[in-house]
Amino acid sequence: MDYMNTPNTYKLPHSYGETKIVLVARDPNCLFAYWEISGAETRRFIDELGIELWQKSSPALKVKNLSNSSSFIIAINDYASNWYIHVDNPNCFYEVEYGRKISESFFVPIVSSNYVQTPNNTVLSSTYCYFMDYRDFSKSGFEDKSKYIYDMLDIESYYKNIGISSMEFAFNSKFEQCFGKSSLELFGKE
């Protein structure tokens, strides 16, 4: 029997029976969070704070920028188990809390994520350069000439074309070869 027609032996669990939220920095302006909230955790919330508060609240994520001490709340729904979160600040540390939103200013956290850092997305300006020979640091200043090197790099154009990736083409070729996708879609354009 063909592998693809072999019945799926394994069914992966929808959850692992725990209360947890995991955060990943996808790119300078996007975080990805996934979570699961156990039944026990929900019961604990109700026992401690009351069924009324549970019923009057809705699930939400509190996104905290730890680098500039700001935060915002995103209303989500009971069915979601992951979310892509737009953030404004590259190069910042973030943490996300899953919890219940009672009002615009009242959020009760249930579980907190790990910390992540959004990557940088620009050439930084720097004053000092340190040089080392593996073991010994030395200080020097070559910044003046650096300007000419960056001029040549045409950074503005690179920003627009970022991610011209070698693997995209080669892997497309590896995995699409059985499907006869036209070369015109990738190459052959005059």
Binding site: V22, V24, R26, C129, M132, D133, I149, S165, A170, F171
Partner: protein, 531 residues
């Protein structure tokens, strides 16, 4: 070092295929990825390097050969299946020579393929003794080729990095596999998909890795700003050297609009007799279920924006590859002459490519590489080829900076491997890493069948982590296979986890899994214990 050259070019070829080995099936479609890469890329590259050596051409090239590829290339089952694959192609090309006898524009191509597959067979069986890894190893011993390591199963490290143990296992097992095959320690590592996050550094350092390669903005957006841009490596605060991909030379080869492989003279990749010929005639050479696939026999050139393709002319295509080699050299000369005015050290232009681009995708790629290396040696003095390690030895004083988290995927960060098509896998991959560490912590010593189960759990987790599966899910083709592979490996891991916890190991099933997923025979699950 005194040199006439004003700078250097480092060609880096990354050779990788996911681990695809299905002993349970007689003819498995996806195993052809390996067979095609052997015929179209790995054997031609070996021939290219050996010819240059025979001709006394001084060249340098850096290559990564990933652990799944090393394992598949040395696997007896797959070696024998490759030979069977070649024999079928030789049979098909014999039929093709007969079929095209009144079509001279195709008949000489049928003969070309016939001779090519026959010579592949001789080279593979008689010359390489079926061991392609050893052929690369021999070339490495000349000092012209430097082979670097890669992570165990090409796991995409930035999204695995919330488990330091998972990252460490990928890197350590990658290094151990390299040592097993090459008998020495690797100096450099290819980070899968150029996926860098500062969190990989401690494990790289622990494993004696001295350098890695990032996407251009891994250095351009580093902190502080590297004064030489991508044209000199930096050293991280952990003392590891980071090189970056050059923007201009990447574009020359990879651009879908004006990259070299798009030239109309070159062989069209997609037009293949597997699609073109009558079903009855070709049925023995396509998928057993009748699904049409590529055979590797292609008679047309890219031609242009038309479906009315012109017959392929190998001589004209080879001439064009030489012209493209000259163009590449000319542009590097200009680049290096400019840069050398402003740098106090020789600039290095780092040009990484997927090895399979050359030959498999861009059929004339190996000839381009051969011509380029020859002309760099004989026809110019502006720059020389160099390996990354050589550059470090010659220019050991480097700027200290922290590279920017980055990858060479679309948009430059993690998006290709983390989006709506594949994000479901991370809940399981992260949980798997956590549970593997739990098992390793709980079983400081294990013997017999329990030890076998723990080691197999580690193998299944590693196989589930291959970046290839998330990538295929994103590209939208062969998705079913990638989903099934991910589900199977995680499913097997979870079963092993429960069986071990419950002390109820299904020995027969375990041995079956060990036979199927037989990568890393020497693995020690204790690599996952809490760091």
């Amino acid at each position: 070092m005194i040199t006439l050259h004003k700078g250097h070019v480092a060609i880096v070829l990354h050779a990788h295929l996911p681990f695809v080995r299905h002993p349970e099936h007689k003819d498995f479609l996806e195993e052809r990825w390996l067979f095609e890469a052997i015929s179209e890329t790995y054997l031609p590259l070996i021939q290219c390097f050996e010819s240059l050596l025979d001709e006394g051409i001084d060249f340098r090239v850096t290559m990564s050969l990933t652990p799944p590829l090393l394992t598949m290339l040395t696997d007896t089952l797959l070696q024998n299946r490759y030979i069977d694959h070649l024999l079928k192609l030789i049979d098909l090309t014999e039929k093709e020579i007969h079929r095209t006898k009144n079509q001279p524009e195709f008949n000489h191509l049928a003969k070309m393929y016939h001779n090519k597959f026959k010579s592949d067979l001789i080279m593979f069986k008689d010359k390489c003794k079926c061991d392609i890894v050893n052929a690369f190893k021999k070339i490495q011993s000349t000092g012209k080729l430097e082979i670097i390591a890669c992570a165990a199963t090409h796991g995409y490290l930035p999204i695995l990095s919330n488990s330091p143990e998972a990252v460490n296992a990928q890197i350590t097992i990658g290094v151990d596999t390299y040592k097993k095959f090459f008998g020495v320690s690797p100096k450099g590592m290819w980070l899968p998909e150029c996926g860098y996050t500062p969190m990989v550094e401690s494990s790289l350092k622990r494993n004696g890795i001295e350098f890695f390669i990032t996407e251009s903005h891994g250095l351009l957006f580093a902190n502080p700003k590297p004064v030489y841009g991508t044209f000199a490596p930096i050293v991280t605060t952990n003392g590891i050297v980071a090189f970056a991909r050059d923007i201009e030379s990447s574009k020359q080869v990879w651009s879908s609009h004006d990259g070299y492989p798009a030239d109309k003279c070159y062989r069209d990749f997609y037009r293949d007799i597997g699609y073109d010929l009558d079903y009855e005639y070709i049925k023995d050479h396509i998928s057993p279920d009748g699904h049409r696939i590529q055979t590797g026999i292609k008679y047309y050139s890219i031609t242009g924006k038309t479906n009315d393709k012109a017959p392929y002319n190998p001589e004209a295509a080879k001439e064009k590859a030489v012209l493209h080699a000259e163009d590449f050299i000319r542009n590097r000369e200009k680049q290096i002459l400019y840069l050398s005015k402003y740098m106090d050290r020789p600039p290095i232009v780092v040009c990484p490519y997927d090895a399979e681009l050359l030959g498999h995708w861009w059929y004339e790629g190996p000839h381009w590489l051969y011509s380029m290396f020859k002309k760099i040696h004989t026809e110019q003095n502006t720059f020389s080829l160099i390996t990354l390690k050589e550059y470090m030895d010659n220019n050991p004083i480097m700027q200290v900076a922290v590279p920017c988290a980055s990858s060479w995927g679309y948009n430059g960060y993690n998006e290709v491997w983390l989006n709506g098509s594949n994000d479901w896998i991370y809940r399981h991959l992260h949980k798997g890493a956590e549970r593997m560490t739990e098992l390793a912590n709980e079983n400081k010593i294990a013997e017999g069948i329990k030890k076998e189960a723990l080691n197999q759990a580690a193998r299944e987790l590693l196989l589930a982590q291959s970046s290839d599966w998330a990538f295929i899910m994103k590209t939208g083709t062969m998705v079913q296979y990638a989903v099934k592979r991910t589900t199977d490996h995680i499913g097997r891991f979870l079963k092993l986890y429960h069986d071990i916890k419950e002390n109820n190991i299904d020995e027969e099933w375990l041995m079956d899994m060990k036979n199927k997923d037989n990568i890393f025979p020497e693995i020690d699950y204790r690599i996952y214990k809490t760091m």
